[in-house]
Symmetry: none
């Protein structure tokens, strides 16, 4: 029986551990430096209000992949949940994604119905049209520019820490607007929040006689030898940054308890144009929890700094991907060592893609 | 180590004290004649209702200056707040600033959408157009005159104590109307109310081992000598009015507790055309405070009279500015004496400009 070490008890590490334990019937030790499992999808019950808090920002599970959905559904029941966020435009809290509903929220009926007619007659109801394309139409240039200025430009600026005039509109303006009254942020077939929280779901995934979990444990503390090491931590850290650091964007959450039943009318409200934060999340909406108080988190993007904050978003430009490739090549010289997950692959994964990636990895490398 | 006396514990005095204490590591004595700190931004909890009252009128902080926002954010958390006042026109409570939303509130759909179309096709959505300019367009002369008569003329008349026919329309009509559905009174990036009140924020600014605060203390009572005196009180008073008094407009607030949950649908409602007051402020909206009762203040403009009421608005006409200059010149003959703030500079400052002015003063004069 082979022995396996998985570094990182986040979603990728947990899913892989379960596959190895269950399908290969091998032993797995999962370690994590943090004091909790579930990585950045960790949630916990706030003591004062009993509200489930998404510590590392709002996570809404959504996928079209039935295999992924069925796999996770073995470990959790779901709160069937569609994310319908809002965005503050000109001080009004309106529908995001910007769609036909939003037109009627920010403009007069007359203006909105004129625009609606032009959009539908040009592209058809239900089309997803990049702003860049919208701009080519003189009659729709105004609305293209309006959406670009009010929804995307400043949000992108804050999110990636770039001056608004440094943003390449040909990149940002690739974002499509959805010519419909579908106010959901995602259109996937399967969407939901684990009914007892993400942490509980990951705990269930890890619950197997062949799996051992050790928290508060750094990879460097492990002296035991393993047949396989699957490292879901940062690949540059594994190699002591010998080629340099891989940059990330980070986030700071200002979590506040507020003495009123609701703070905002939906779970996530984006603030592209005001303040330095990008959005405010009100956590009780995830599981429809009741409390006379409420907990919000105000989300401030920032640079990742080693030892100061957490890695969130890999910054996937050519330079950084070239640096990642140097580490990746290095890793392939070592037998029985694999890298996986957002930090191991230096690639942002939605949760479903993280699971899908583990399935593929398992089938290709371990089965 | 130099010794500093700051006269006036309002926003300007407090910010300057913190800079001197912190960046120069010098000692500062801050005195105020009033029994409280925070000058005219002073707020307090009403005993009966527990509602936070802005004693000297509604203060909504707003700025585009990130440096000012970040500085104050060290001393307070914020209630993220957009001021969306109303105005009583023809007895209806409608959106102020007068914009496209207001058109639909005061006119029929047909009339409003005709005007909307003309305004947008002439100036473009999002334009800010002075009424004076609007008047030049024969098709828009009606709406220009309507806004001038219903929103500005009588308000200005009450505010400045002038007969309506004494108001120079070329001055008042410089006010722009905003061709948009943005119902916010301010468009600044950063807007909010200190979450625990302005007084608490100023208290935090003044909390420093090098700062001492003495209330109920007149400048004339101070016999001690200081290396620097920064006087944030009225410059004419400092010189015993030897060239004459600098005129101000004043306000009287009729503060009433009302036995119903809400009095009006927004924090500030302007009354340009009826009564002698200019506006009614309902204080519970600032911090979204809950109470079965509510507190309003009805704001009556009046002349400033020495010993009778407070100085609010400097009246910045040529004559008064010439008088101010005489005092200012006089002050520059005295070493180590500086004047600052609304009363010291005889200049109305929004709160952010007051802070900005102190930053500049500190960098230029003291650093």
């Amino acid at each position: 029986m082979k022995s396996n070490l998985i570094v990182g008890a986040g979603l990728s590490g947990a899913v892989l551990a379960s596959l190895i334990a269950d399908k290969l019937n091998e032993e797995v030790l999962v370690i994590d430096r943090k004091e909790h499992i579930a990585g950045n999808i960790y949630d916990y019950k706030d003591k004062e209000t009993n509200i489930t808090i998404h510590k590392y920002g709002p996570h809404i599970f959504h996928t079209n992949n039935k295999k992924v959905w069925d796999y996770l559904s073995k470990y959790t029941k779901w709160n069937f949940f569609f994310l319908k966020p809002n965005v503050i435009i000109e001080g009004n809290c309106v529908t995001l994604p910007f769609n036909l509903t939003t037109l009627y929220e920010v403009f007069s009926n007359k203006m909105a119905s004129d625009l609606e007619e032009k959009l539908i007659s040009t592209y058809g109801y239900g089309a997803k049209v990049p702003i860049l394309k919208l701009r080519e139409n003189p009659e729709l240039e105004f609305i293209a520019q309006y959406i670009y200025e009010n929804v995307f430009k400043n949000y992108t600026s804050k999110q990636w820490g770039l001056e608004p005039d440094k943003i390449d509109p040909s990149v940002t303006a690739r974002v499509p607007i959805y010519i419909s009254f579908d106010n959901r942020y995602f259109q996937d077939k399967y969407q939901g929040i684990p009914l007892f929280g993400y942490t509980k779901m990951v705990e269930n995934i890890l619950k197997h006689k062949n799996i051992k979990v050790k928290l508060n444990t750094d990879f460097k503390e492990i002296t035991q030898k393993f047949d396989r090491v699957i490292y879901c931590g940062a690949i540059d850290e594994y190699f002591d940054y010998k080629f340099g650091q891989l940059p990330y964007r980070s986030l700071n959450f200002d979590i506040q308890t507020i003495n009123q039943e609701y703070y905002q009318k939906t779970v996530v409200v984006n603030y592209p144009n005001n303040y330095d934060f990008t959005r405010i999340c009100e956590h009780k909406y995830f599981l429809n929890e009741k409390s006379s108080k409420t907990v919000i988190s105000v989300e401030y993007p920032q640079s990742f700094e080693l030892g100061k904050n957490e890695r969130y978003y890999p910054i996937a430009n050519d330079e950084n991907l070239a640096l990642y490739k140097k580490y990746k090549d290095e890793s392939q010289k070592i037998d029985g060592l694999y890298f996986l997950g957002r930090l191991g692959d230096y690639k942002y994964y939605n949760m479903d893609l993280a699971v899908e990636r583990v399935f593929e990895f398992f089938d290709k490398e371990l089965k």
